[in-house]
């Protein structure tokens, strides 16, 4: 329990630090969103309107400490401010509209690659020393090539040349959003290629991690013992070896789920997928500070929560952490 409280205190401090940095960083960055907007307008804006825009965007010269206080007060009300690119749409609305796409695409692919990767890792370690060992280098190839290159090659082959899948977007604009077959079909069709690229690029990590842990575990006496007793191969592999080897993978899985919210910027940019990553990319391009702030905040808070959860899971999985406290 003491261990748990200590962790909780630590994470509360980290969260405060993240919130504060999140306030400071955009304000320390050079640049002026209004100036950028004026330039985008081709100068077709009356200069006297710049004051109106600054007012509208809430850009003030108030002392930092006052701004910080306002920021904390707004935050406690769940108010993340108003996006500048989508002014006057609240940042929380912009994030809410992007979040489901990212959770759906990146979340599901993370889960898929964890399960597929871990299962493959177990199997490969069991069959060590046979021809299957050559699968490992092949898998590492996919995670080693730059992701954007892999994605673009797949787009070229399956999207452009073969025309099997759409090139970009989240669904066909000809369909009506809602719970209906054409719309859901269209979402799936659009998600296939990005999902495949993410899984291909990431599941080698799970395979390697799992396989290596398995190798260590398989050398343990209790595994040899189980084999000697003549238990079924499957039982030995799963119940005796994998159960112990999977511990580190589970914690890194919790961490991976935490970073899902951040999306996969490269995937979303390449496929024009309207998720959090693409939104962040555009926010940075147009110096939309409130939106960036909101996104960073959500992303860092989920990572912190995921870390906390991983620590808690560890308490249950590993008795040593319990006795230490």
């Amino acid at each position: 329990m003491k261990y748990f409280l200590r962790k909780l205190g630590l994470y509360a401090f980290i969260a405060w630090a993240a919130i504060t940095l999140n306030f400071l960083i955009p304000r320390l960055m050079p640049g002026d969103p209004v100036g950028l907007l004026v330039n985008k307008l081709h100068g077709n804006i009356d200069p006297n309107a710049i004051a109106a825009l600054k007012k509208a965007f809430g850009i003030t010269n108030a002392p930092m400490i006052n701004q910080y206080w306002d920021y904390l007060v707004n935050l406690s009300h769940g108010d993340l401010g108003v996006s500048l690119t989508y002014y006057p749409v609240p940042v929380s609305d912009v994030i809410t509209s992007a979040l489901p796409w990212t959770l759906g695409l990146v979340g599901i692919t993370t889960i898929i690659s964890f399960f597929v990767g871990t299962a493959l890792g177990i199997w490969l370690s069991w069959r060590r020393g046979t021809w299957t060992d050559s699968i490992v280098p092949a898998m590492t190839f996919f995670s080693a090539v730059p992701y954007f290159w892999l994605a673009l090659v797949l787009v070229l082959i399956f999207g452009v040349t073969l025309g099997w899948v759409p090139l970009s977007g989240a669904y066909d604009t000809g369909t009506t959003p809602g719970v209906n077959a054409p719309f859901i079909g269209s979402i799936l069709q659009h998600a296939v290629l990005p999902a495949v690229t993410i899984v291909l690029a990431s599941f080698a990590g799970w395979i390697l991690g799992m396989r290596n842990m398995m190798m260590t575990t398989l050398g343990e006496d209790y595994v040899s013992m189980a084999e000697a007793k003549g238990l079924r191969t499957r039982t030995v592999m799963v119940r005796y070896a994998a159960r112990n080897a999977i511990l580190p993978s589970v914690t890194s899985f919790a961490l991976a789920l935490g970073s899902v919210v951040g999306g996969s910027i490269l995937t979303e940019v390449i496929f024009n997928y309207p998720g959090v990553g693409y939104t962040l990319f555009l926010a940075v391009q147009s110096q939309d500070f409130p939106l960036m702030q909101g996104l960073f905040l959500i992303i860092s808070l989920t990572v912190i929560v995921a870390n906390l959860l991983a620590d808690i899971i560890y308490i249950f999985l590993d008795p040593r952490t319990r006795s230490e406290g």
């Binding site: 002026d32 307008l41 100068g43 009356d46 200069p47 309107a49 007012k55 509208a56 006057p88 609305d93």
Partner: protein
């Protein structure tokens, strides 16, 4: 990446990073099940590249979804840069009094908001007063003190002589008082817009916004397009979709347009890129050596504008006119003495001007100014604007021939913008926009009001041209409602640009307008330039939609 700037049109300051709106499928269109049924005509528009839409239909927002202004909310008097006269729209007349400090609009009878309530002078006065009570909504900076309604007229009192704002006042789009009075106009996203315009919003999704024909539009006979769609587009998908014929109307830069668009259906795929802005070579003329008009003239002569247009802009844009006027939109303001004026490329004349002005060539072939400074300058440009990067490189080669060293310096768009404002750059490019006419254009790069003393931040006049004669012409335009006198003032400004080159006009900016005649006809083009054609252009978008006719199939 191609410069994003290309996608942002002149549209009334407002409609920038807009996203598309979607109209609804149950709008005023019918599909008859039986024989001889009519299929509703759907116009698909790509006006801007965004990955997804947000539900923002507040016409006072700088990032409102495109189509809100024009298709849902309409102007009082439609002023297009392509039209010499304003076209009475929601107002039938505008009268000036009180020495140009009072504008009186006569409001059209019989117009209804799309929720059935009548459109009245009260609504107009309320909307103008919003600009005063919520200054953040006043993004066109109209100098309004107050507005009052009486019968079918609205009296707008201005804080200064307002003739120069005639077009901007006319293009103002009123909103219904009965819906807006209880809202904070600066914060409300107006999720279901109610306007007087030919279209209403139907369905909205983050990937598609569509508008359906309004059932109660006051000039319903002019609207033949049943439904308008704005699907999302990104720079990556736009060109391939355009080539595939998915858009009827698009406004974006397309590399190699003949191959990627026109040749896919030469009979129907067309484009028209009239000028809508200038691209100027800007120098800080308050500082030596650019305060010397001879140096500016020599540079202008040494620039091969045709090469810039052909290589950097793929030949899409015309070169600038020596008067700086954006053509053909501003043709009617052309001073007869410059009617045939053209920029010439003449290296030997440039060299002889420099020789006689005392710029002598040093041993390395670079000239030295009379006070001993080398003519070696940085051209500061945003490195993301690939066309400008090419232009700067071409200038480097061209200017070398007259002994001037120009070094392209690519920087981030933020530091470029900062250097322009601070006046610390040596040479750069800038694009003054067409605004509502030549006054806006000239004012933006020649007015003392928009310049600043050394060391301070200039608003738009980055070359910091400050000249008493220029001020006289600008004031003369602003102080009179007489069209002939206004024209004379503009022609005076033309003379200053021709003779003194406050900035050096290089090219015109293009108004990106790609369209297909397969489904609709009636588009503006070089033969019938009744409007600027880009779909992001307000109020021209409204003018175009009233001219379109579906093709019978």
């Amino acid at each position: 990446m191609r410069p994003v700037k290309r996608f942002f049109g002149i549209a009334a300051a407002v409609t920038i990073s807009a996203m598309a709106l979607a109209g609804c499928s149950d709008g005023g269109t019918t599909v008859n099940g039986g024989s001889g049924g009519t299929v509703p005509s759907v116009l698909s528009i790509m006006a801007n590249t965004v990955p997804s839409y947000q539900r923002n239909f507040n016409p006072f927002s700088p990032s409102v979804n495109l189509g809100t202004v024009g298709f849902v909310y309409e102007p009082l008097i439609l002023n297009s840069p392509a039209q010499a006269q304003g076209i009475p729209w929601l107002a039938t007349a505008l009268a000036w009094s009180n020495g140009g400090r009072t504008a009186t609009f006569t409001i059209r009878d019989g117009v209804k908001w799309s929720d059935g309530k009548p459109f009245t002078a009260e609504d107009v006065a309320f909307s103008f007063n919003l600009l005063v009570t919520s200054p953040a909504t006043n993004i066109t900076a109209l100098p309004i003190s107050n507005a009052t309604a009486s019968g079918n007229t609205v009296t707008v009192n201005l804080s200064q002589v307002g003739y120069a704002y005639e077009q901007a006042l006319g293009n103002f789009t009123p909103v219904p008082k009965h819906l807006w009075a209880s809202q904070d106009a600066t914060k409300w996203t107006n999720p279901t817009p109610i306007g007087t315009g030919p279209y209403t919003l139907g369905a909205f999704s983050t990937q598609l916004v569509t508008y359906a024909k309004s059932k109660s539009y006051w000039q319903a006979d002019k609207i033949k397009v049943d439904k308008i769609e704005y699907p999302v587009a990104t720079p990556e998908t736009f060109v391939s979709n355009l080539g595939a014929g998915k858009y009827d109307w698009a406004g974006g830069f397309v590399p190699n347009i003949d191959k990627l668009f026109v040749n896919k259906d030469p009979k129907h795929n067309k484009y028209w890129f009239p000028g809508d802005s200038l691209t100027n070579l800007v120098m800080n003329v308050q500082k030596a050596p650019f305060n010397d008009v001879n140096l500016r003239k020599a540079i202008s002569l040494a620039v091969d504008r045709n090469e810039l247009a052909k290589v950097a802009e793929l030949g899409y844009v015309p070169i600038a006119n020596p008067t700086g006027l954006v053509l053909p939109a501003m043709q009617s303001y052309m001073d007869p003495q410059y009617a045939n004026a053209k920029f010439t490329y003449n290296v030997s004349e440039a060299n002889s001007i420099l020789d006689s002005a005392g710029y002598t060539k040093g041993p390395d072939g670079i000239r030295v100014s009379p006070d001993g400074k080398k003519l070696s300058f940085d051209i500061t440009i945003p490195s993301g604007y690939t066309d400008w990067v090419t232009m700067a490189k071409l200038l480097q080669t061209q200017l070398q021939k007259v002994g001037i060293q120009a070094n392209p310096q690519g920087v981030s768009s933020t530091s470029w913008s900062n250097e322009l404002h601070a006046g610390t750059f040596q040479m750069s490019f800038y694009y003054p926009g067409i605004g509502t006419g030549p006054y806006d254009l000239y004012r933006s790069f020649m007015s003392k009001e928009l310049s600043a003393p050394a060391g301070q931040s200039a608003t738009l006049n980055y070359g910091r041209w400050e000249d008493p004669q220029t001020e006289k012409y600008l004031a003369a335009y602003g102080n009179t409602g007489d069209k002939a006198a206004q024209k004379a003032a503009i022609q005076g400004l033309e003379g200053i640009v021709v003779n003194q080159l406050p900035s050096i006009p290089l090219l015109q900016g293009a108004n990106w307008d790609e369209y297909r005649t397969a489904n609709f006809t009636g588009w503006p083009d070089a033969q019938n330039p009744y409007a600027l054609g880009a779909p992001y252009q307000f109020p021209d978008n409204l003018l175009v939609i009233t001219h379109l006719t579906p093709v019978k199939k």
